[in-house]
């Protein structure tokens, strides 16, 4: 029996879909059998980020309404044999996927996969309820902005009300130089407010945008810092105590300082 993990945030645009894609791919890299499940009905993105958009024939609403079997809707990833995507519907109404149907689908997926990563839509309404039902664990993604932290806090309260075991936190798109100058909330500020266990910190990295546009999850590029962060997150999910990357390391080394001086950075 596998484990279902919902990736949620409340606020939109903080990196739920990117995190879902990268965590799922990183777990697949580590040899796990993974299914990515997109519950953002009407605004599906996960297929685009994974580069699997053109392979969609059936979607999660077809499965829920009996239009096809679950196996028919599952799309096998281009790169890994044991990574699958269950896409959201793009044209149907979001109420077409009921909470009960979603729970049944997650239950079936858990019996076939080691990990089911559920990409949650923004907001705290029906789509959120659909996404968290059936999840055994939750990952809350936030960015170092007051509004994102506020929404994360709201979502954590709702998860706790649903008796979800203490969610884990990912702080996304942190910019070391802004934190250092005091222009951005730092990690301690955020943990101080949200009081959650930190699963990982993902530095702001242009590779992520580039990779998403190419339909290649960032984790497949070993040279990007965000990639390393997501790989570490996947290892922590598997129970491996990987230390946090220090954000300062890019400035502290002698070599990087030299590079900076001669304008390579």
């Amino acid at each position: 029996m596998g484990e279902a993990i919902v990736v949620t945030s409340g606020k939109g645009g903080v990196g739920k879909t990117t995190s879902s894609a990268n965590i799922g791919t990183a777990l697949a890299l580590l040899g796990k059998k993974v299914c990515l499940m997109d519950t953002d009905i009407g605004l599906r993105n996960l297929d685009v980020v994974m580069g699997l958009e053109n392979r969609i024939i059936f979607d999660i609403v077809d499965v829920a309404t009996g239009g096809c079997r679950l196996e028919q809707a599952l799309i096998k990833d281009k790169r890994f044999d044991h990574l699958f995507l269950l896409p959201a519907a793009q044209t149907k109404d979001k109420l077409a996927l009921s909470v009960d149907a979603a729970r049944a689908i997650v239950g079936k997926l858990k019996s076939q996969f080691d990990y089911v990563i559920i990409d949650c839509p923004a907001g705290i309404e029906h789509g959120f309820r659909v996404a968290i039902t059936g999840a055994d664990q939750a990952i809350v993604v936030t960015t170092p902005e007051q509004a994102a932290v506020r929404d994360a806090d709201r979502v954590i309260g709702l998860l706790e009300a649903e008796h979800m075991p203490s969610p884990k936190l990912i702080i996304n798109r942190i910019k070391a130089h802004m934190v250092r100058n005091g222009d951005m909330l730092d990690i301690d500020d955020i943990i101080g407010i949200l009081s959650l266990d930190l699963l990982g910190v993902v530095p702001d990295d242009e590779h992520v945008i580039k990779a998403a546009n190419q339909g290649e999850p960032t984790v497949l590029r070993p040279d990007s810092r965000a990639s390393i962060a997501y790989r570490n997150i996947a290892r922590r999910i598997l129970g491996d105590p990987v230390p946090l990357m220090t954000l300062q390391e890019e400035q502290s080394g002698f070599l990087s300082r030299m590079k900076k001086m001669i304008g390579l950075r």
Partner: protein, 229 residues
């Protein structure tokens, strides 16, 4: 007690006193449109008529009298007091109506041992004690005091039903908004460092904030002023 409240009253002047069971006794509301003599006669009748045979050992029932807008003369006042002095089953608790919030000392505080998060609202009739943080967007509403052992970053309303003596206290005091009774105060626009161990109280019309050490003094001041009034 309930048979007393519901029993049809005897006598012609049956409607000048309404009896209501309240949390710690009985509330007698005396109508404004009857003479004091009539009301007094009915009060006597109600108290005398309710001898409770076989319940001699039960404690006396506390009675709160509400005379509405009526002003009692000194003679009337002492007549009422004497009436109760001669009655073993009832004690006169107050002649100013139902007990006010702060007088209900036995009201249980609500103790919450967790973080109160954005969007969560905790309402309680009495004091609220949070052992944990109150985050921005969270709201506490108490008819009594609010005590937070942790960060107050959200909003707190003490004395929500009008108690001006209520306070809001926190280990780290950095609220978005604090209300006491009907007075609202919001955080300064420029964010400042959270103050440690402070409490907010009403100083007349205005809200004031003081170090926690001053709380004892504030309470003592309150007690003396209440005796004077």
């Amino acid at each position: 007690m309930s048979s007393f409240a519901n029993s049809p009253s005897k006598g012609a002047r049956g409607n000048s006193i309404a009896v209501k069971g309240i949390r710690n006794g009985l509330l007698f509301s005396i109508a404004d449109d009857v003479s004091f003599a009539d009301a007094f006669a009915e009060l006597t009748e109600k108290l005398q008529g309710e001898k409770r045979p076989g319940e001699k050992d039960s404690p006396a029932v506390a009675v709160y009298l509400d005379f509405g807008d009526r002003e009692l003369s000194e003679e009337d006042d002492s007549a009422v007091r004497e009436l109760f002095a001669g009655n073993e089953d009832f004690t006169l608790e107050s002649m100013e109506g139902a007990p006010q919030v702060r007088d209900l000392r036995h009201k249980d505080p609500y103790v919450l041992k967790s973080t109160v998060r954005s969007g969560q609202v905790i309402e309680h009739d009495g004091d609220i004690v949070v052992i944990g943080d109150v985050n921005p967007g969270a709201q506490l509403i108490a008819t009594g005091d609010v005590y937070i052992m942790g960060y107050l970053r959200g909003s707190a309303h003490a004395g929500a039903s009008g108690d001006h003596r209520a306070i809001v206290a926190a280990t780290y005091f950095d609220p978005i908004q604090v209300r006491i009774a009907g007075v609202i105060r919001r955080a300064p626009e420029r964010r400042v460092q959270a103050a440690e161990m402070e409490f907010a109280y009403l100083d007349g019309e205005h809200m004031a904030i003081e170090k926690m050490e001053a709380l004892g003094q504030y309470r003592a001041r309150g007690r003396t002023s209440r005796v004077v009034v």
